[in-house]
């Protein structure tokens, strides 16, 4: 059942992404990208990452894409002619993307057991549950303290300094955006 739902949302995500890069109208491209992000949020729920799914909808679909749509409408770009590059670039793109896609698509064969046998020193006896202890601990944590607690504990303990640096990054981004978008630069 879970797999059927996963493949439905995966198909929606791939079709929306393909339409996003082929639409000549930027507004419809943005809306197809929102559709991709929503189906990715559903897939995160299936992968037991409910909190990340909520953040995905709030931050990506809710904030970043609204920013994109604001800029598209501010610049009045809704009615442009097709901006896809010439045939030689299209051919080169197909070759490059095909090679890259084939390379990455080889990851499809990975199952937890396969990954465990490559990680373990004694491959025939590799059990995902014993090789990947951290994953087991996270599952127990989210059962005991809830999904948010299992994410918050490492965020505010192990990764506290990177988290604080992130706030400086956001401050720099805010100031930079204001300065760049100001008139009379």
């Amino acid at each position: 059942m879970t797999e059927v739902v996963f493949y439905v949302f995966a198909a929606v995500a791939v079709i929306s992404a393909a339409l996003c890069i082929l639409q000549k109208n930027p507004v419809s491209a943005a809306l197809w990208l929102v559709s991709t992000m929503f189906s990715l949020a559903a897939i995160y729920v299936l992968l037991n990452a409910q909190f990340i799914a909520a953040i995905q909808v709030l931050v990506y679909a809710g904030a970043i894409m609204v920013l994109f749509l604001f800029v598209i409408m501010l610049l009045n770009l809704g009615h442009t002619e097709s901006d896809i590059r010439g045939p030689s670039t299209v051919a080169a793109t197909l070759v490059i993307v095909g090679l890259l896609g084939l390379e990455l698509f080889a990851l499809l064969r990975y199952s937890p057991r396969q990954l465990a046998s490559e990680f373990s020193r004694w491959p025939p006896y590799a059990e995902p549950a014993t090789v990947f202890v951290a994953g087991q601990i996270t599952q127990q944590e989210s059962a005991a303290r809830g999904v948010v607690g299992a994410v918050a504990a490492p965020l505010f303990q192990t990764y506290l300094v990177p988290f604080e640096i992130t706030s400086i990054l956001l401050l720099v981004a805010i100031i930079g955006a204001v300065v760049l978008a100001k008139r009379n630069v």
């Binding site: 879970t2 797999e3 996963f6 493949y7 791939v14 992404a17 996003c20 890069i21 930027p26 491209a29 943005a30 990208l33 992000m37 990715l40 897939i43 992968l47 990452a49 909190f51 990340i52 995905q56 931050v59 904030a63 970043i64 920013l67 994109f68 598209i72 770009l77 896809i84 590059r85 670039t89 080169a92 197909l94 993307v97 890259l100 896609g101 990455l104 698509f105 990851l107 499809l108 990975y110 199952s111 937890p112 990954l115 990947f132 951290a134 994953g135 601990i137 996270t138 994410v151 490492p154 192990t158 990764y159 992130t166 990054l169 956001l170 930079g176 955006a177 204001v178 760049l180 630069v185």
Partner: protein, 98 residues
């Protein structure tokens, strides 16, 4: 546990994002394709976090923060370019071409 299919979906989405960056000349659509690639990488982080623990979720957090900062600054730069050129077509932005 859906590890392989999630990694395969992530591969397809990343390749589509690369195709969009190479194909399109509209700067805003190009930015959206970069967001698509970041999302694909987030998906593989989440898929592998099932095995490797909650650090993957924390990485997704940081990727989202960087994506938000990048979108804000990038769109501000696009607005600045539009004021100068009245266009966001990357073919028209050739000031540094020799």
């Amino acid at each position: 546990m859906l590890l392989g299919p999630a990694l395969g979906l992530s591969a397809i989405l990343f390749s589509l994002g690369v195709a969009g960056v190479l194909l399109r000349r509209n700067a805003i659509v190009l930015f959206m394709c970069i967001e698509l690639m970041l999302n694909a990488v987030n998906l593989s982080f989440v898929a592998l976090a099932q095995l490797h623990g909650a650090s993957g979720y924390v990485m997704v957090f940081f990727v989202m923060t960087v994506a938000a900062a990048e979108a804000a600054v990038g769109l501000a730069i696009i607005i600045g370019i539009f004021r100068h050129k009245q266009s966001v077509d990357l073919g028209n932005i050739n000031l540094l071409r020799g």
